[in-house]
Subunit: 177 residues, 2 copies
């Protein structure tokens, strides 16, 4: 994929703009998008040329994408070069992204709340109230976090079936009472 069609350019532009709210910057997202659409692995040089981004920047971005676990290196026989590809399975990819998001956003946030609950309570009425409020918020995250941690261990097909049930699960589980 040396030259990009106009359509692909259009897509990568939006991909970069949109996904940059997800913890990666615009270029990193575009690189990922490029790999996502590419039928074969690409090397850093190609990526650099295709997206008109400095070679060093591509290198750093790829490192970041690898640290997220959504891009892997591939080696081709007879070439010293490293090639890159993104996870072939979309569900695997999304699971990875969600897991990283949790690790990088939710977990630190819960740590902050925990510390704050202890710290805010200075004995005054307002302090006690504040502590109480923070604990309420922490409670939400703990329930949610525990739920997620249990679900994430399950294999993808099971999750798919689970999600497909939607709200019906509630009825089936007898949670209406």
């Amino acid at each position: 994929m040396p030259q990009l069609s106009e359509r692909t350019q259009r897509f990568l532009t939006r991909y970069g703009e949109m996904a940059s709210h997800w913890g990666l910057n615009r270029t990193e997202c575009q690189i990922h998008g490029l790999l996502f659409l590419s039928p074969k692995p690409l090397d850093a040089e190609e990526i650099s040329k295709t997206l008109s981004v400095a070679r060093s920047h591509v290198s750093n971005s790829l490192k970041e994408l690898q640290s997220w676990g959504i891009v892997k290196t591939v080696h081709v026989l007879g070439s010293r070069r490293e090639y890159f590809e993104c996870l072939p399975d979309v569900w695997e990819m999304m699971r990875t992204v969600v897991a990283e998001q949790k690790r990088r956003e939710i977990d630190p946030w819960m740590r902050i709340l925990k510390e704050a609950a202890a710290d805010l309570d200075d004995g005054s009425p307002d302090g006690t109230y504040a502590k109480h409020r923070v604990q309420e918020m922490l409670g939400f995250f703990e329930v949610f976090s525990r739920w997620y941690e249990e679900l994430r261990r399950l294999p993808t097909p099971m999750i798919r079936r689970f999600l497909a049930l939607g709200g019906k699960a509630i009825g089936l589980l007898g949670l209406k009472g």
Copy 2:
């Protein structure tokens, strides 16, 4: 809450830094944090002074918080002023935040993917492959989105019981086979 204790300041600082990844900017988050910890509603003037933020900025930020639905206005008898408070129930608040996040991030993203799936396929093998990939990603979001839309209609206590089950739900639903 005219003056902030050092502890509260510490908390609001972190609250602002952390939560600003969630679609609101730092000050908006701090204002929300302040209201969240406050036992009584506050007016814009107080907020401005307490956080040392320009009055106009507070005004705009409050509007934004209201548009998210996580801050409400309250009127006090005998005063023309508007007072502000955040949703009292934390679970209600988090549900609102999640709903807004979906509306502002996921839904547009799905629209982009839909358009791109049609656009990318120029008849070439690479184009066909790209379309296929985008559809895979779209598939993930559609399953997830449908699941969420069904769950969100249920009352909070039901959701809590549901989440509390964690991975056990899978077994109970007979999804292991």
